[in-house]
């Protein structure tokens, strides 16, 4: 059965049709979330919430885009809201609750001594990504981590190709500045 037919059935309240859509997209939506938040439990919870939102919004889907694009738009909006909330909560934490900066370094040294240099690099990169504004973090995740095309990114984030290009450039420039001392080291991080 064609996807649009399944969507129409789901709009009419067919639970099985909605389950078909969930099965078709759950891994992709989860992949989208996990590559932004880098935590399986959080990504799983976000994916559940995204499908609930999609289910509730289904009567408003007018087939003006592909169902997948529409679902990814819901997913990105939800992930963006989560990142904003998460950042706000993090900013509101008292100084006592924030881990000391040296903690990461200690952890890194320990991991390095155990020969896990790749894991150390990933850890540092994720930390720097988390420090970035969410609009830059999202676009870097979509393009440089997940490898989506400019056209796909434009559709999901509702941006023109020119805006995708300029935002991506600003995001890379900012991340490079954050990583500059480490990138300039011989052999990278």
């Amino acid at each position: 059965m064609e996807e649009n037919q399944v969507v129409r059935l789901a709009q009419q309240g067919d639970q099985e049709a909605f389950s078909v859509l969930v099965r078709a997209y759950q891994n992709r939506v989860f992949g989208l979330a996990v590559n932004v938040v880098h935590n399986r439990e959080t990504a799983d919870d976000l994916t559940q919430e995204i499908f609930i939102k999609a289910y509730l919004s289904l009567p408003r889907f007018r087939f003006q885009s592909e169902f997948g694009t529409w679902l990814y738009q819901i997913a990105m909006n939800h992930i963006r809201d989560y990142l904003r909330k998460w950042k706000k909560e993090k900013d509101q934490l008292s100084l006592d609750e924030i881990p000391e900066p040296s903690l990461l370094e200690k952890e890194v040294s320990l991991q390095l001594s155990e020969g896990q240099e790749e894991e150390r690099r990933r850890l540092l990169l994720r930390q720097k990504m988390e420090e970035m504004p969410e609009k830059y973090r999202l676009i870097l995740s979509l393009r440089d981590i997940q490898g989506l095309s400019y056209e796909e990114i434009g559709k999901i984030l509702k941006l023109s190709p020119g805006t995708v290009d300029s935002r991506l450039h600003r995001a890379r420039r900012l991340l490079r500045k954050k990583l500059a001392p480490l990138l300039s080291q011989e052999g990278g991080l």
Binding site: G13, Q15, S19, V22, R23, Q26, N27, F30, G31, V34, N35, H38, R40, E41, A43, D44, T47, Q48, F51, I52, Y55, L56, P59, R60, E118, R121, R122, L125, R126, L140, R143, D144, I145, Q146, G147, Y150, D165, L168, H169, R172, R173, L175, R176, L179, A180, L183, S184, G188, L189
Partner: protein, 166 residues
């Protein structure tokens, strides 16, 4: 001559595989004479590789994803009345807006008809006694004069006076 700011933008496009041949040649020329931009290119390439290395592939949600979702959906299930209302609302709002626009257009374009007033109404409107002249006719002593004045007054009363011309 290309400046370093422009070169950085082109470097970003180059590592992304989106730089045209013309810009590529211009950037190459700049990199030959600018060691800091050549270093920048190396840093961008490293960064791109490290980022792509962050990709988590072949992952699936935690076990029993669908069962857990179904259980959650039952707690947030849309009432059918609400769905019907949502559909009606989505269709009714544009129709209502169109009707509202048409009504506003009709009210704007259709001017109210001009009000025509008789001589007596006009005098009343100007807070004067409309019987004042008639009274004067009957007070004339000579019957010929009285009849002539009444005759001419009868002709004058056919005239319609428009408020807008006053």
């Amino acid at each position: 001559m290309m400046n370093c700011q422009k070169a950085e933008r082109l470097i970003s496009k180059l590592v992304d595989g989106r730089l045209g041949s013309r810009d590529s040649a211009r950037l190459e020329g700049h990199l030959k004479v600018c060691p800091s931009c050549a270093e920048l290119l190396s840093e961008y390439q490293k960064m791109k590789n490290f980022l792509s290395d962050l990709k988590i592939t072949g992952v699936e949600p935690l076990p029993y994803f669908e069962e857990r979702l179904k259980a959650r959906l039952q707690t947030v299930a849309r009432p059918s009345l609400w769905v019907a209302l949502e559909r009606w609302y989505a269709a009714a709002v544009p129709v209502f807006m169109v009707i509202l626009l048409i009504l506003a257009g009709v009210l704007f374009l259709v001017q109210p008809a001009e009000v025509q007033m008789s001589q007596s109404e006009l005098l009343l409107f100007q807070n004067q006694n409309p019987l004042k002249d008639t009274q004067a006719f009957f007070e004339e002593e000579k019957p010929e004069t009285r009849q002539l004045k009444l005759l001419f007054a009868g002709l004058d009363s056919q005239e319609i006076i428009r408020r807008g011309k006053q």
